[in-house]
């Protein structure tokens, strides 16, 4: 729930794109920029979101450090793979942020099951998800998978593997998404309970 009325525009954080939108936004009230956004090279919207999800007990600097370490590990593995492979080097992505985005996009669910009571019986009804919720679920699943680990393995390491797996379209998170979709598919007969 935003504190701003709906006609307020989102702030433009990137300095370069500010000039482009100056004319459009000249007479529109703009929301204040959040204090965690910046125009630095270290900032990414999705990355920022993920840091917030990693954070426990408000220890954000630790979360940031963990994500940075995750990126480092991803980069190291990818560069190693790059150096090992003789052919199709072009296909290997080294940019950790891109891999993260791919992983999240790959593990985003489209539908969700929710219990609806009709005639005294609860039905698992597939309902579509909003974009925001689907991003949230994707990141949550990634993190849940990463946190389900041996005590000796560190979070960045496991998270890096999960991200790499998900970016390839494999792994537990993708499987979880597929399972959910499959269930939704099998419960399609109940779909009309959403509105009747």
């Amino acid at each position: 729930m935003s504190m701003y009325p709906s006609h307020f525009a989102e702030p433009v954080i990137q300095k370069d794109s500010q000039a482009a939108s100056r004319n459009e936004l000249a007479h529109i009230p703009i929301k204040a920029a959040t204090n965690d956004s910046s125009d630095s090279i270290f900032f990414g919207v999705l990355q920022n979101k993920l840091v917030k999800y990693i954070t426990k007990k408000g220890n954000r600097s630790l979360a940031n450090e963990l994500l940075t370490e995750t990126f480092e590990i991803i980069k190291r593995t990818q560069i190693e793979r790059y150096n090992l492979s003789k052919s199709d080097r072009e296909k290997i992505i080294i940019d950790a942020e891109k891999l993260l985005i791919n992983a999240i996009e790959n593990s985003r669910p489209l539908l969700q099951l929710s219990a609806i009571k009709r005639g005294g019986v609860k039905y698992q009804v597939p309902i579509p998800l909003t974009e925001k919720k689907s991003y949230f679920l994707a990141m949550k699943w990634l993190l849940d998978a990463a946190r389900e680990k041996d005590r000796k393995v560190k979070l960045p390491e496991k998270l890096a593997w999960e991200i790499l797996d998900a970016a390839c379209g494999q792994g537990r998170v993708i499987k979880k998404k597929d399972d959910l979709h499959r269930q939704c598919e099998s419960n399609r007969a109940y779909a009309h309970y959403r509105w009747s």
Partner: protein, 403 residues
């Protein structure tokens, strides 16, 4: 050993992971297109800029002002010979592994030092060079550069990768048998002997150095006079109990041999000020902290950094991190060495290692781009990195991790 095992475990983990993913054609296709955007750019910068930030001269003796801010590659065997027992920072070692090449940047402090060493008259007493500078500024890597020079120019290397390890986290501490009230670090001494052996095995074989007197370790064990030096080292490694004494004997022998012009010696001790720290973390029998001079390893290394021998060079570094809390106010040599340390070393040549210059900084950025370590090269990112790291090498390394 433990460390090696750890690394090995890590390696195996990575390799299993690689196998797992090898089945799927790497990444989703739109992303693959994106990745090609960076690759050609990097490729043509590397082709055009090979001369810009790399140099083919791999012999540190031939480096000159021309090669400042350029990278040279240490050949794999030489790296293995010199640095397998330590000598490069852990994170740099990791970077070398990732980049599959051991590159060092030619920087002016190292060049200055090499210049001094080349011009020095070895018949004069050993000159002590002291590297000093703030945290993460490249003292150890400067030393590594000089060590490489020494290894190529037939210096026997007496290299202590990080002296504070002995005072701060020794593997084992035992009461010395030969000196009353002193403490032996048998495992650390043996580890150092192994390090010495790997660094100098080739040269020792060539020089055929002999011991000058007989060393009696116990009733049954002794090393006769005229035995090859290698035998002494082997003895220390095999009989860990006598490793500290062997180290002392070895260093004394080396000093004599060098003064007799049978060999040249390069002493390189990182974190030298640890020898003059007021206390260590080792406890004696009466549960009190021991001062560094009560460790049997200290005296030989102090002797070999003294001025009373010839045919040698001492490259020492003083580091804030070698001290403990309360003694870390400044990085200046006099402060870190303290009164005793200063008197021990004086007159020494202080060599300041500073942050990157603009040229070095850009060269490093180019190198990172070339190795694909920076994959998000947005316009103006150099400026931001420069501002945030203050051109401090270590800070830059840390910042670039997540890019």
């Amino acid at each position: 050993m433990k460390m090696f095992r750890k690394q090995f475990v890590h390696l195996s983990r990575v390799s299993t992971h690689l196998q797992r993913n090898a089945i799927a054609p790497c990444i989703a296709s739109p992303a693959a297109e994106m990745s090609t955007n960076v690759a050609p750019a990097a490729a043509d910068t590397s082709s055009a800029a090979t001369n810009e930030f790399r140099t083919g001269v791999t012999n540190p003796g031939e480096h000159s002002e021309l090669h400042v801010a350029k990278f040279y590659t240490i050949p794999v065997e030489e790296k293995k010979q010199i640095f397998s027992g330590g000598g490069l920072p852990k994170q740099y070692e990791q970077q070398i592994k990732t980049f599959t090449e051991a590159c060092l940047m030619v920087r002016s402090p190292a060049l200055e030092l090499l210049q001094y060493i080349k011009n020095a008259d070895l018949t004069n007493p050993a000159v002590r060079y002291v590297l000093y500078g703030d945290n993460g500024v490249g003292k150890t890597l400067t030393m590594a550069h000089v060590l490489h020079y020494g290894a190529l120019n037939e210096f026997l290397l007496v290299h202590v990768p990080w002296a504070p390890n002995w005072m701060k986290r020794p593997k084992e501490a035992a009461n010395s048998a030969s000196q009353e009230g002193f403490i032996d670090l048998p495992f650390d001494a043996a580890a150092w002997l192994v390090h010495f052996k790997t660094q100098n095995a080739k040269l020792l074989g060539k020089l055929q150095l002999k011991t000058s007197k007989e060393y009696v370790w116990s009733k049954r064990e002794s090393t006769p006079a005229g035995a090859p030096l290698m035998e002494l080292v082997e003895h220390g490694i095999a009989r860990i109990k006598y490793a500290s004494e062997t180290t002392a004997a070895l260093l004394a022998e080396l000093k004599q041999l060098a003064s007799a012009r049978q060999c040249k010696i390069m002493v390189a001790i990182d974190g030298f000020n640890a020898f003059f720290h007021p206390i260590t973390r080792i406890f004696s029998d009466n549960k009190q902290r021991v001062t560094p001079e009560r460790i049997t390893l200290t005296q030989p290394f102090l002797d070999i950094t003294n001025y009373d021998w010839t045919n040698g060079v001492c490259v020492l570094s003083v580091d804030k991190i070698a001290m403990t809390e309360g003694y870390m106010a400044s990085y200046m040599p006099r402060y870190l060495l303290g009164k005793d340390g200063f008197e021990h070393l004086d007159p020494f040549v202080p060599v300041h290692v500073g942050n990157y210059t603009d040229k070095e900084f850009l060269s490093y950025i180019n190198y990172y781009l070339d190795r694909h370590w920076i994959s998000r090269a947005q316009p103006g990112f150099e400026e931001q990195l420069k501002f945030m790291s203050n051109m401090n090498p270590y800070t830059l390394m840390q910042l670039v991790r997540g890019l």
